[in-house]
Chain length 612, copies 2
């Protein structure tokens, strides 16, 4: 109490101690009196500090045997919260809140919202909590008691200095207990975890059916989309109207709206995907290890994918169909602006999944849960595919250990060598910059060989770009030579009709420049010199490197990969434009007739490559 | 002061304020007096709190123009630390310590040890720090002043409650300034970052040389290892002696010691690797996108690898040679118990790398830096390969965003189906468990079809295992049926002559069991029923699945992959036993003759598969 007093004094706040005993509460007059005392204190801005009056209490320990009205500080707190009709009860612990298992177990997850129906009995408490007062078991018991009597409760850590303020500010920290939690937390963090586990189980059944059956699901979805086109458009229109009312920016609303013909287009893509070659179980390599022991490396689904997408509801259909084609389970997390569109599309898609596989193959995460929470599920999610702004991708990459398929930057270069064909250089440079300036494969930096200043090609390129409305910024050499404003950084993605220009000494300098300032996405050289071209193609380690072709070709459809999952600048797994193979991994399958290793004594390894 | 007094009072500690001015310090008598006063106070266990006597100070602001002896609290602290001959000066800031750039920039790294020679002038301070008193610039200036006058200084955050205690406990938090830092921090965290960048640059030059030249480096290293065998063994013996003296456990010492013939063995592996097929630039796929526009998917190095290994010095040679063969840069972080062995091996290897490529291709991290610090370098390291205990691998996986190639668990199963050949089942089960029980591909759980209880095969298998000294634990069904102690968990890796046995209803139950309790490493079925075997091979999604063969075959050498990088249970990138291909990624290379996209209007896509 002295410590409370001293600390509150420093803030010019007066506090007052109130000591109570178990017996007191048996007296209704006391209870009324207590309420009034506390109210009076609060009206005087005095903070009441309540505790058990240990010195005079006759209550017997241990608490388990107690038949008392309260038996520890947690149950006292719950009791007082009820008596005093508190707006909120905050229980401070030495851990962040209630976990799904012992907090020391890395697999345990913090439960943000306790749902009695889901969590009761499903939680494994740590050993420490089983015994003694004040443990998590006692806190949860007290919290459930108060919450179901109508007082919301938050259990959070008392170690972080500002947790009480953060709780009052409505931040989602600790574990919230609320009588109505089951109504508004249909998929809490354990929910998402469970959804991922269910999606994996369904995906195993999906893999087990024939290729034809998987195709049929896609065809059924295509039909269902067409049949429900009006319903989809109505729900989408409702989203668009809500977004307009909420004053969202135009570009978002434009991405949100399903254009005329979009549903038919999606249905057609589904039919194409249904007819594509079976991606699962392809034998990539076959080796005879020893006589009668044949090893195969075959393609297999990754497991469970998480797609996080903004606005565009068609992304849901595209990725869901790719997931089905490739035998993967899927969790979808869309933006709330597309809530109704996503819900109806998800419903139509899962309605076409046979019961024998399970609708939980594709889960729509609709909880209040934040993306950071989903990104922690690295034990049950195998790959994250963000579909949205560079900012979204960067944020996701920075905050998860789950592999992310995507690209944050697309700083693509075109290098025009001294031996370049003049007209070809102009065409490629113009196409790379102006065909679709906002695309990630658009040129952001034009590098030109120094000799082309004399020949005039540099000037011609610049004039052509300017005629097309491109604003130019120069590196140190170009800006002084060509009298254009200096670029602030070479590592800059304009995403608009603007680009950086710089003069370089030769192909080596161009390669160095790109390695230093690029994003290893797509870079192109224009040259008629075969040796220079090959040097560029071999030494530049970007995901895609072109000779005499526009950077705009760096695209799954143009590469002939069929459906595009994304473009990856990661070096692990899939790189550059990624088709269905980005959703697959491999398995090793061996068929023998009783071979054993036995210290490698009795076996003769042949390691013979067999045809696939 | 009132706050200090109040807070210290609560701990029954008395504090005393001492106010000083700039002018006071000009008087040598004052300085002596001050020292004595502080000493007296400390001997009385009174904590002196020193501050500038603002009320009477005549010092002029702003501090930049000041010619004073001190000009802010930081310089006052440094001055007092010197005057009072402090053992340590702790400067508390609002950030964790000194960063390599503005702390708000995610690329900035905390500098654990400030080395004047390396960091002076190399650090970009945030805007806030440039101006005003008490910023980081002022703190660093004061810290350098005190440190080079002989007083160690730590700058750390004042927000975490226990940072001062952690500093006193010698924890590596904040930024340490010490006069001798340049002698014992040859490669601080900026050092490791720089090493990774240098390794990438060297790796680009390595990729640019011919396959023959890369092979020659490996042959040169093989020769150098043989030539320096005695030196290597002497350094290794010194490590072993030191480890014995330090009382390390026997198994560690056994792994540390280079056995007779090991150096020759390593040299031979190097020669084999030198002769293997060139892994870089292999064309995996060739497509004609449109007339005259040919796309190739080719293999290319990942970039920079980090290997973290315990004890075994040969891991250094193995991974370094694989890195050279595959064109990658490499950072090595070995255990300190193998310090001398690693140093000599690293020296011998890098001596064989031509100057034109650069010895920095392979960096040996020898700083005091902890592994967690290295694992933060996800911007410059592409893959981490841990070589050591399951615990090491788990810890690394849990604490980095860099992809990790490895496996934490190897919970492998053998399922004996009802149609299994009796003798084959016995041989495979015995081999899988006893050939090398500590290996990750050894059987940990034996699943047996329920019908084999009647036929007696279950009993025979158990007797055979027990004869070989295997301790058996049973699942619920097996333990009661076979009268063996119950296993505590099905998800358990014994790594010894022990295993779990359970009875299952059929192949479906076996698959479910393995999906639920296994680690997706390697699992095998013994059966003569072709359909049951194919079901198992196709539905079980482990990295390796075998029919009628021992799990022990799951190994890079036995798979004929040549050198083994590791066994991966990750689903991304490489899976199962991984050879050199695990150190490679792909690049897309396109050769055209001026093609542009132009809204896909003028181009006819052919997407014709060409032979590779």
């Amino acid at each position: 109490m002295a410590l409370y007093d001293s600390l509150f004094s420093q803030l010019d706040v007066t506090s007052a101690q109130l000591l109570v005993t178990d017996n007191d509460f048996r007296d209704p007059d006391f209870r009324k009196q207590l309420s009034e005392t506390v109210k009076s204190l609060l009206s005087l801005k005095v903070i009441p500090i309540l505790n058990e009056n240990d010195a005079v209490s006759t209550r017997k320990a241990p608490y388990e045997d107690s038949s008392g009205i309260f038996w520890d500080n947690d149950s006292l707190a719950a009791l007082l919260a009820l008596e005093l009709k508190a707006d909120l009860l905050v229980l401070l612990s030495d851990v962040e809140g209630l976990y799904s298992g012992p907090p020391s177990d890395p697999k345990s997850k913090l439960i943000h919202t306790y749902v009695k129906e889901r969590h009761e009995g499903a939680i494994t408490f740590g050993n420490k909590s089983r015994v003694g007062r004040g443990g998590m078991t006692a806190k949860v018991k007290a919290a459930v008691y108060a919450a179901y009597a109508g007082i919301p409760v938050v259990i959070t850590s008392g170690f972080a200095g500002d947790n009480i303020i953060r709780v009052l500010n409505g931040e989602s920290i600790g574990t919230l207990f609320h009588r109505d939690a089951n109504q508004w937390a249909p998929a809490g963090e354990i929910g998402a975890h469970e959804m991922a586990v269910a999606a994996r189980e369904c995906s195993r059944r999906l893999q087990a059916v024939s290729s034809k059956d998987r195709s049929k699901i896609l065809l059924d979805i295509a039909d269902a989309l067409k049949e429900n086109e009006n319903l989809i458009l109505a729900e989408n229109a409702a989203d668009v109207a809500a977004a307009q009312q909420a004053g969202y920016e135009k570009s978002l609303i434009s991405r949100l709206a399903l254009k005329p013909g979009k549903v038919s287009g999606l249905a057609n893509s589904l039919r194409m995907l249904a007819n594509m070659e079976e991606p699962i179980g392809q034998v990539l390599k076959r080796t005879e290890l020893a006589e009668g022991l044949i090893l195969e490396k075959t393609t297999s689904p990754l497991g469970v994918l998480l797609i996080i997408f903004e606005s565009r509801p068609e992304a849901l259909v595209q990725i869901a169909s790719l997931a089905i084609r490739s035998g993967n389970g899927l969790l979808l997390k869309g933006g709330k602006e597309a809530k109704r569109s996503n819900a109806i599309l998800h419903k139509i898609i899962t309605s076409s999944i046979p019961e024998s596989i399970g609708k939980k193959l594709i889960g729509l995460v609709t909880s209040r849960e934040d993306i950071p929470e989903l990104l922690k599920l690295d034990d049950v999610i195998d790959l994250v595919i963000p579909r949205g702004s560079n900012k979204l991708v960067s944020q996701i990459k920075a905050s998860t250990k789950i592999p992310v398929l995507g690209h944050a930057d697309g700083i693509c270069h075109v290098y025009v060598d001294k031996s370049a064909d003049k007209d070809m250089a102009k065409q490629i440079v113009l196409d790379a910059k102006t065909d679709y300036p906002a695309a990630c494969n658009a040129m952001e930096t034009l590098l030109v060989h120094k000799d082309l200043v004399q020949t005039g090609l540099v000037n011609e390129l610049i004039v052509e770009l300017q005629i097309k409305g491109v604003t130019l910024y120069g590196g140190p050499r170009a800006s002084s030579l060509l009298n254009i404003p200096e670029a602030r950084s070479f590592h800059h993605e304009y995403c608009s009709l603007a680009c950086t220009v710089e003069i370089v000494d030769d192909v080596h300098a161009a390669i160095d420049h790109i390695h230093q300032h690029g994003s290893a996405h797509t870079d192109s050289i224009v040259t008629d010199d075969h040796d220079v071209a090959e040097l560029f193609l071999h030494q530049l380690d970007s995901a895609a490197v072109f000779h005499n072709a526009s950077t705009r070709f760096s695209d799954g459809y143009r590469f002939g990969l069929g459906a595009e999952v994304g473009i990856s600048t990661s070096r692990i797994h899939a790189r550059g434009p990624v088709g269905v193979e980005g959703l697959l991994t491999t398995r090793w399958i061996a068929r023998g007739n009783g071979q054993v290793v036995n210290g490698d004594a009795g076996i003769v390894y042949t390691h013979k490559d067999l045809t696939v």
